[in-house]
């Protein structure tokens, strides 16, 4: 019962900042059962995120086991790759082996219908790099010829603010990196300004 003169006030919310992390929100709060019953849509999302969390952790362990520290290291020995492929063949069994030999023989003897040729590259265009940065940065432009390249802000993999000072102008790729730009890898897609078709990628690495 509320007495006269007593002010009604809402209890303080358990959070002190806006909720922007939907997965955690879905997992921990609004998607839980209400009065023991939960609608199928909410249940699907809640269950999905809980399974996904666990699987992502397991997946990381599996990826580490399979890749053997591949990422960021020099290319693995191709001999080892071939040996692994051969092991797969061996595991499949003798019958499959015989079939593979036949496959190879037949392919060599009578090549199948030619697949469509890959798109022909247009004559290349050279771009100068004009980079303004107080630090040493690595810039990689992977650009297919043709079209009028246009690039948007470079996005970070680690959630750092994007690099907006980038663009193609007068035959040059111009790039400006602020002094306080966090280190990391930044990526952007280069598109044709006229058609919007992808032309390539731009990657910038700011070492720690």
């Amino acid at each position: 019962m509320v007495h006269e003169g007593e002010r009604l006030h809402r209890p303080d919310p358990p959070r002190d900042r806006p909720i922007r992390d939907f997965p955690s929100y879905a997992r921990n709060n609004a998607w839980g059962p209400r009065d023991g019953r939960e609608d199928p849509v909410s249940q699907g999302v809640r269950l999905g995120y809980s399974v996904l969390d666990e699987q992502m952790r397991e997946g990381q362990r599996l990826a580490e086991r399979l890749r053997g520290g591949l990422r960021g290291q020099p290319p693995a020995d191709l001999g080892a790759l071939i040996e692994r492929a051969l092991n797969i063949y061996r595991d499949i069994g003798a019958l499959a082996f015989a079939a593979t030999e036949a496959l190879a023989r037949n392919t060599a003897r009578a090549p199948a219908q030619e697949p469509p040729p890959p798109p022909r590259a247009a004559p290349g265009t050279a771009y100068a790099f004009e980079v303004k940065s107080s630090r040493r940065v690595g810039v990689k432009l992977d650009l297919r010829p043709g079209g009028r390249p246009q690039v948007g802000a470079l996005q970070a993999l680690n959630g750092a603010p994007a690099i907006a000072g980038v663009g193609f102008k007068a035959g040059a790729l111009q790039l400006e990196i602020a002094d306080d730009q966090p280190d990391g890898v930044y990526n952007a897609v280069v598109v044709d300004a006229d058609s919007g078709e992808p032309l390539g990628t731009l990657t910038v690495r700011i070492p720690a």
């Binding site: 699907g44 999302v45 997946g59 591949l70 069994g93 036949a102 993999l157 890898v185 992808p198 990628t201």
Partner: protein, 340 residues
């Protein structure tokens, strides 16, 4: 509009893959028992969703078709190989509206065709060495190896539950199985592969794992629903999942919701070999499912997962330029419920 975008893109990329497939499906002897059979499943008019997702992700992340085409062809070949193996394991009778290969030829020959299709998928991956260079080709190989492990684990879970008539499978177990069995091959791997190839490893692949999981799980649940409530374009055996005793979300939900006596009868039915599961028992199970409204429940879960997929799409594609390919990938979340 979004539907047209999805169907047009599937048609375009599908035609491209179909043009490339013969390169890796040679002719020769024994034609009757092997080579003539290799193109059978690929020619049955699949929708080519997997390679289309791979090509679209490549382009959305700034890459080109010619960078990814061989990996996409390898994916379609492996998918068809696994379909043959699935049909054998499930003792399926139909595939894409025609008799399953095992029903046409018997298990031994069908198994051999599946093996050779899997082997054929290695060739385009090996050719990536030339197209992509050793570092990226090796990274693609590692992704493929991981996907193959995950798929095999998922298949083992599903088959093991059925063989041992496991009664304790819950909905989260089902989603783990679906993530491994369906999502890795169908959605996670194609998306990761495309982004990996386009950015040479500089993209956040975990974001695509999340997107692929939700897309693939919604896809699988809708596929399971279509098996019970098919539309005119459905190409598999109606109620086939019930005859096979597949642990679908609907079956798990039914087992949880029904009375103890019904539950005993249900697991007695599931414990029988497929040939002993007769029409009358399947009709009883179908009626039990109807009574507990599990199809509507599964449809709701699938919609929730598709919604989460759209949310994850926004995260994974944030900062990329708007493109037809990015919109195609988002459009799959809705297309899942409209496909035949």
């Amino acid at each position: 509009m979004a539907d047209t975008l999805v169907s047009d893109t599937l048609a375009e990329y599908g035609a491209l893959i179909r043009a490339w497939l013969p390169e890796y499906l040679p002719k020769g002897e024994p034609a009757r028992w092997l080579y003539d059979l290799l193109p059978d499943y690929p020619n049955r008019g699949g929708k080519m969703m997997r390679p289309a997702l791979c090509l679209a992700a490549t382009r959305a992340f700034g890459g080109s078709i010619d960078q990814a085409i061989k990996s996409a062809v390898a994916l379609e070949l492996l998918h068809n190989a696994l379909l043959i193996h699935d049909d054998i394991q499930d003792e399926s009778e139909e595939r894409r509206g025609k008799p399953a290969l095992n029903a046409m030829l018997g298990v031994p020959l069908a198994l051999n065709v599946g093996d050779v299709l899997a082997l054929a998928s290695l060739r385009p991956l090996a050719e990536n060495l030339e197209t992509l260079g050793p570092r990226l080709a090796l990274a693609v190989y590692a992704e493929t190896e991981r996907m193959a492990w995950e798929s095999a684990e998922g298949q083992a879970l599903e088959l093991g539950w059925r063989r041992d008539n496991v009664e304790t499978v819950e909905e989260n177990d089902y989603l783990v199985m679906v993530m491994k069995k369906t999502c890795w091959l169908s959605t996670i791997y194609p998306l990761r592969l495309g982004a990996l190839i386009a950015t040479r490893g500089a993209a956040d692949l975990d974001a695509l794992t999340r997107l692929g999981f939700f897309l693939g799980a919604a896809f699988q649940i809708q596929d399971d629903i279509l098996n019970l409530e098919p539309d005119e374009k459905y190409g598999k055996e109606i109620n086939g999942d019930l005859y096979e005793g597949k642990r679908t979300l609907m079956l798990i939900r039914t087992a949880r919701a029904c009375e103890p006596e019904e539950r005993r009868r249900l697991f007695a039915f599931l414990g029988k070999p497929r040939v002993q599961r007769d029409k009358a028992e399947v009709a009883w199970l179908r009626e039990l499912m109807q009574r507990h409204d599990v199809i509507a429940y599964a449809r709701g879960v699938a919609r929730g997962l598709a919604g989460a997929a759209l949310h994850e799409w926004e995260i994974a594609f944030a900062g990329l330029p708007d493109s037809r390919d990015a919109r195609f990938i988002a459009g799959i979340a809705d297309w899942i419920f409209r496909r035949g």
